[in-house]
Homo-oligomer: 327 residues x 2
């Protein structure tokens, strides 16, 4: 028998990045009512960080009526585990890079509300499902295209965490089994080594090296080329840059064709810097998918770009974790 | 509020193969109390088949105490869809190869018990979860290695059917993007083209053609070589045949490493003819997995072979679908 639950009106979202830790208070419609931030790396221990976080947070909690108005808190953070609430060996967070921090419990003890944590791609998926283009969908795959490639998978309306809380590492499926690019994970040929923002810049450098074709990018120091430069050049009609996006989109489409065989999602939702390239990326992506997918799946999946505002999306996503805590 | 449910003691399983349709009555412990069968293709219409099936079934239903002792019926069948209960365009079933048959409803109307249907790989997964080596597991992937390669995926204790009921086609992820073998699906480089029983025979023929190495298999007509011949020769120490299993196991291991990034299962469970090769297959499979999997997943997954008896497993699996119908 399920108990009758009265939900409180607001949730707290914390987007823990390598530079800033942004707190927001979110209402049921996905409006960020209040927000504040502290510097992630300014503290020598996790305890100092949590104390500073709570200190920054309490004034905005009071503004919305106090902690009794807060249903729970959700945290999107790198190297975090939903099941045990920890951040473990996070290379980019000074107070968590050589230890396991019981981060959710530390906030929960201070705030006396339930706190849950997961990685940023899962948070993004929960955000889209709760407030964004995946609202009402029971089966979709969120793919985040930033410095790396992340994924959050929703099946039967539930986030997929897997047996150990680490599911959804689709940036590390192998797309090139021969002569693959070295990936940050130490292996070769991962999707992330090609289709992240850094992957796009690598592809541009590779094309510049291996083709004599003229390009606007030749005016730059190759080492300084970013995906944004490639996108800008492509928008000006630069043929080599256009080929970079065709290559990237096609590979993402091929990867999605494989993902489709797994859980047959209703949609793929894309988020992150690379999606700013718009059709430059999405057209070859959809073409690569349709040309490579198993016949029974052809024409079935939607390809969507996140509708959430970039700046607030991570906080919204984090707050959505709190809405999905089971009571 | 959930209603109190009194379950009836037995379920019916139907394993619908291209040749035989085997019915079994199964108790809660997974014992097949009674079974019977009819020929799948002896009927010109689905209606004739269902009538003959019910006629064969009723005597064994009566033996266990009548239809009031039956909780439901589960059917494992090719080209079937869990969501709408149909078999559609099944190439190997004469009365269903050019149409959509509402198969579950036809049995349900005759028997007045709930009937559910899914493909054989999903049925196998439900069988393992209910009666076999995956008992109690919430996250695992079943991989069937027969004429083709099938998969049944369980996440959060639930079968993954996807948005359209067609999830789990892992035999059709692409393992070779350049010069891949043509697959039965019409595309190139699918896992199934390499790691099915027919794939193993193809690999043997390829090795015989491209290497001058002596082999016991050279005494045979290459076109007649089966995976069983390769397994027998390998068991006798035939070096070329051993290489075939190493190649097959390694590729399966690489595929599992990719599958792991998706849903981080507790175990991979293998079923089907190829598993009879035992360590010949499983050792290179586990090695291929551990050498290729993302660091955070290393050493985590179990690699298991189905514990269910081959002959009864399909009926048990089918009956398990009935146990998983939501009431």
């Amino acid at each position: 028998m399920e108990a009758q639950i009265t939900r409180r009106p607001y949730t707290i979202g914390l987007d823990l990045g390598g530079t800033n830790a942004v707190f927001g208070i979110v209402d049921a419609q996905g409006n960020i009512l209040e927000h504040t931030s502290i510097k992630t790396q300014q503290y020598s221990t996790a305890e100092d960080f949590v104390n500073a976080g709570v200190e920054a947070l309490m004034p905005i909690v009071d503004k919305v009526g106090g902690i009794n108005k807060i249903e729970g808190m959700g945290i999107g953070a790198p190297n975090s585990n939903f099941y045990d609430g920890t951040i473990a060996y996070a290379p980019n967070i000074s107070w968590a890079h050589e230890c396991v921090v019981p981060f959710a419990k530390m906030f929960s003890d201070k705030l006396s509300v339930p706190v849950a944590i997961t990685n940023d791609a899962n948070a993004a998926a929960l955000g889209e499902m709760t407030y964004g283009v995946a609202k009402g969908m029971k089966n979709f795959i969120m793919i985040t295209l930033g410095t790396g490639v992340g994924a959050g998978i929703v099946i039967n309306g539930q986030m997929v965490y897997g047996s150990d809380g680490m599911a959804g590492e689709l940036g590390h499926v192998i797309m090139r089994r021969e002569n693959g690019r070295t990936c940050g994970c130490g292996r070769k040929g991962c999707l992330e080594a090609y289709c992240s923002a850094t992957g796009v810049a690598r592809t541009a450098r590779e094309f510049l090296e291996t083709s004599p074709e003229p390009s606007l990018l030749r005016d730059m120091n190759p080492e300084e080329i970013t995906s944004l430069d490639v996108s800008k050049a492509a928008a000006k009609g630069d043929a080599l840059s256009l080929r970079v996006y065709e290559f990237t989109g096609k590979m993402l489409g091929e990867a999605c064709a494989d993902f489709m065989t797994f859980c047959s999602p209703e949609a793929f939702v894309f988020f992150g810097g690379l999606t700013k390239a718009g059709d430059l990326l999405m057209k070859p992506l959809i073409k690569g998918y349709e040309e490579n997918v198993l016949g029974i799946f052809r024409g079935k999946a939607k390809f969507l770009v996140s509708s959430l505002d970039g700046a607030g999306a991570a906080v919204l996503g984090a707050s959505a974790i709190a809405k999905n805590i089971e009571h």
